[in-house]
Symmetry: D2
Subunit: 347 residues, 4 copies
């Protein structure tokens, strides 16, 4: 039984870590960290946990927390963790960071896309990018996991096998992503009010969304060459779920649906959390809601010589909290699915 603390436990991702860990047989939550709700009962903020959690919120003293916990999850604003983390803390406990602070290896790329100075660039090299299905072995041996973004997890997994196998022209890669509104967080903004989001769909961050360099870096590793992509996120009037529709030209006219299917099978056949739907079957966010699954389908379009790659996940499970716990499981040598066999809830 290990002890876990959560800094930023009162955001949507933090609350989802709580939901998952409450049913995790090897983990106990000892610290519900919060900036805004210190001393308030956690179950007064998230009343779904009424009679299930008695704890009050604590502050975000990571130094103290690192002396009491085996693992710390940080679901904090960009730049926050980079400003307080150090090797001392990492020597005492493991950290899974849900912010972007340690995801990008080139600190200049980070600083340019995020518009903030990185306060602990020396730790970036220590961090492992926690896309479990790709980096499992490295995750086992690190104290610091940079948990991937929600859009990036969905985007990278859709394209990874085809990039890795050299089946698509990476110069033509376009990711058109659609997300539920929980991805926008729980802070009070007019743009996220019910009446502003409901009965609407919009693109945002066009050509400058911060998940772009993260996708590019990971796919560059897969391609073993620099990859530059178009990425457009959209806001959808639903609570949970991300759907990515990705487009790329096939490298060769002879590449057919079976070739594509084989590539997906090669990398993901044995992955419990990735479900391969095959040619012509579009994934839907409703089939993964509440679970840690990523559903992937594709369609080879012979007319245009393109392949359409499609993937769906729950943005606060596999796109955030679920993957964070999956990373924890790997880091501590637990069964990777432990606490994560959450069945999708429908309808």
């Amino acid at each position: 039984m290990i002890k876990a603390g959560i800094i930023g436990s009162t955001g949507y991702a933090g609350a989802e870590i709580v939901r998952i860990l409450l049913n995790h047989p090897e983990t106990e939550i000892i610290w519900y960290g919060s900036k805004s709700y210190v001393d308030q009962r956690y179950a007064d903020i998230y009343k779904n946990f009424f009679e299930l959690i008695d704890d009050k919120c604590l502050d975000d003293n990571i130094d103290k927390l690192s002396r009491e916990a085996d693992v710390i999850f940080t679901a904090t604003p960009q730049g926050y963790l980079a400003g307080i983390l150090n090797r001392d803390i990492l020597s005492r406990c493991k950290v899974v960071d849900l912010s972007a602070d340690y995801r990008i290896k080139d600190v200049k790329v980070y600083e340019s896309w995020y518009g903030i100075e990185h306060k602990s660039p020396e730790l970036i090299a220590d961090a492992v990018y926690g896309l479990c299905e790709i980096n499992r072995d490295k995750i086992k041996n690190t104290s610091l996991v940079a948990n991937p973004g929600c859009y990036t997890t969905c985007s990278i997994l859709a394209a990874y096998p085809l990039v890795k196998e050299g089946l698509i022209d990476t110069d033509t890669l376009i990711f058109d992503a659609k997300s539920g509104t929980s991805g926008a967080g729980r802070s009070a903004k007019t743009a996220n009010l019910f009446c502003e989001v409901n009965e609407n769909i919009k693109a945002y961050g066009v050509a400058n969304h911060r998940h772009t360099p993260e996708i590019e870096e990971q796919l560059s590793y897969a391609a073993d060459s620099d990859v530059m992509v178009s990425f457009t996120p959209h806001l959808v009037p639903m609570n949970r779920g991300i759907l990515v529709t990705a487009y790329a030209s096939l490298k060769d006219k002879k590449i057919n649906a079976e070739d594509i299917g084989r590539a997906y099978e090669k990398y993901f056949r044995d992955e419990y959390f990735i479900r391969l739907l095959g040619q012509g079957v579009p994934p839907e966010t409703r089939w993964v809601e509440g679970s840690n699954f990523v559903d992937i389908g594709y369609k080879v379009d012979e007319r245009t010589g393109r392949v359409v790659m499609m993937s769906a996940l729950d943005n606060i499970v596999k796109g955030a909290a679920g993957q964070a716990v999956q990373n924890m499981n790997i880091m501590f040598g637990f069964e990777e699915r432990m606490g994560l066999e959450l069945l999708p809830v429908f309808p």
Copy 2:
């Protein structure tokens, strides 16, 4: 390990029984019964179960099923089970019926509200009304449970302690109920299309909804006298959840909020699945979604001499599948919460 069969497994309630039983440590599903999808893979109909269920749908041969299963769940149209059930079947296995066929003791009342002839009235006396928190002892010893309706579970639990303790004038009882759309089922009807339900709220079945006599019968037992109520259901543009707002005049001006609170505590304090929010705290469906909880709050209004009773549950969990499994647990002597410690999913 017991064996379970589900007749009507492809409706929303049936699919929720599947979701719950898949994680139940003492139960194995051996029969996915269906009228419309025989021989189709269950996971093709409910793709949330892709790679989780391999079975194909079977027919609804209850006689054959009763020779293979220890328990049968029937989530079938009104009148269907009454037409095929008999003592032979009940001698071989236990039955939890999610339809209304055996809920009402007076067969004439059933026939008048449902407009159909009851084909096996001789079995009605054998059936136990499966409102677990009220009838637990009787459920232990029966082979046939009439699982309560979704509206009725929510309505009865909100009022039961106050009726039982004689705190309210039952002649003034009014239940105004609001339900998510999954309660309308999965069959294709224009009235339930997205564009007809979305951005709308309406009452329906005003003064003649079939759950009325069920509420009245159970509250009459509690009052030990005939109770007649007004019940109005409404359709709300959301998937899951029922909220009941009930009104009644207090029997006496001296009755105050503490008295009401004490009555709720007396009957429900030790009930895991009932969460008492107390005076002035309105329950919300989002806090119970996906779980077997019923949240109950109330407000004594001294101006009008009324108490407003409020309750919220997930209509396809505590209002259908969850309570059905809770009944199964009681019938088989399992821990009552087994497989049902589902945490509410929010947002």
Copy 3:
């Protein structure tokens, strides 16, 4: 052609006044007042008006405005107008106030329910309660209309004929109301975020909502005796619409559906904006969305001796901006429907 100014034009009700007046043949908007957006282009805040409105937002200098405009609409927080209005202003132009400041004749009742001191109680007697179908004649001759609340318009109209005709026992009157989320306004609050409202229904302000005394006062006039009611509002995951389900015991067992129908016909038969659906036809908010209509249906329940009164309207049209313009039309002697023949938009 008259000149209109709007103080509080950047809230949802203010923006709906804009939408209506833009198509009003006898009115020109000369002042888009705002607290938060002074000097910003109105069409940057409400982009539906892009290329339709060039004006920038002005401040809320009512004194200046009253020298330029013929009519002022105030869609401002409670207490604001009471603090700045005076007879001077009213001598120069007419005012339609969408706040509650002048709705309640007894200033102590106002101060007790709203918890604020009334700064211009001497003007309350001058104000006419702007429920057009009831107070049309008084509205013609006043300079100050207190535009009714959204819930109150819907509630009063549902019950008024039956109260006026003495058909129901007013001691038993209960209003259970359900509202879309635009009624909660456009200010940034966590409770009104998409993910908090979506997939949820809740009651709020139970037994203490501020629209209660307004309903009671108007129905007391109709009954010619003091009326006290229960009123419970609920928040529904949709943008627009209010549905009221009201309950009361019939005064006499002999009163039947025709009697009730006759009462509604007597008062509302000739009212263009009130559509009488008759016995057993529940109104639905989708059928009035975007329009100034109020749909009213009812059901006499002989079992319980009650009548269920049901009404639906669009909370920001007939419940706010539409009725405000209807009041303006009456005050200025325009055709009452002018600019208000908005067809309901479905789906």
Copy 4:
């Protein structure tokens, strides 16, 4: 005053033609045609028109109708009109066809994408593709307008100026479209039930949706060469609205945002129904809901050398009924905006 008949008036597009024509000063509806609701009152099917329309539904006898009406709108299933239309009918009255029957000039392309035989190919040459802003002059002189599809209107208008001006490489054109659910029609299908659509987003018709050849044909005219595109529609949980996000590589690295802006201005500056938002401003469906506007924005991405074209419209107004009436106005020499100055309704 002309007389209009609608065949298929009880679908969503048909009902929207009704909503628009009721306020059209020069048109009277004389025929509410229906297949399923003959002899039923139109206002019983669409209760928003209660007390506004007294007519009953008539059948779909186009021959009789053509002797009584000046214009016929057909909102009918694919292939239906092609089976009954002839030159006789067209000699007596004008026809605006909202189905796809006469949109595609090459009958083989039509038959291959729609999988049905075209029964009146000889009329195809007579038909004008009714994209008003592009084909206005031809529309003036025809008796048969093929009203464009909802997706196609939105897609073509987003790309037209850039294709026409040769600014983008048409071999790289990708249209990722997202639609509200009213586009799926009003017939009862399980896939379109509230609980199936709500809280979900999915792609469908990937690489084989029937609007693809329509987009390709029109853009080929603009490019003066064959254009082949990728087109992917998605279903969004909202009633109305289409958003198109389109991608293409710029022909030349020197092309910048101003060049793109100039191209849009050149073709659409004077178009009332097209609102140009400019560089970096993404359109949103909420700002056009209920109106005949198309909002277009774009973003030049210098990193990737692509331009992202974005457009939003209301699928049953500019995407169907609104454009149909706009075509009627042009055909009859009415002011093009007549009856169409519908303000967008928000929220």
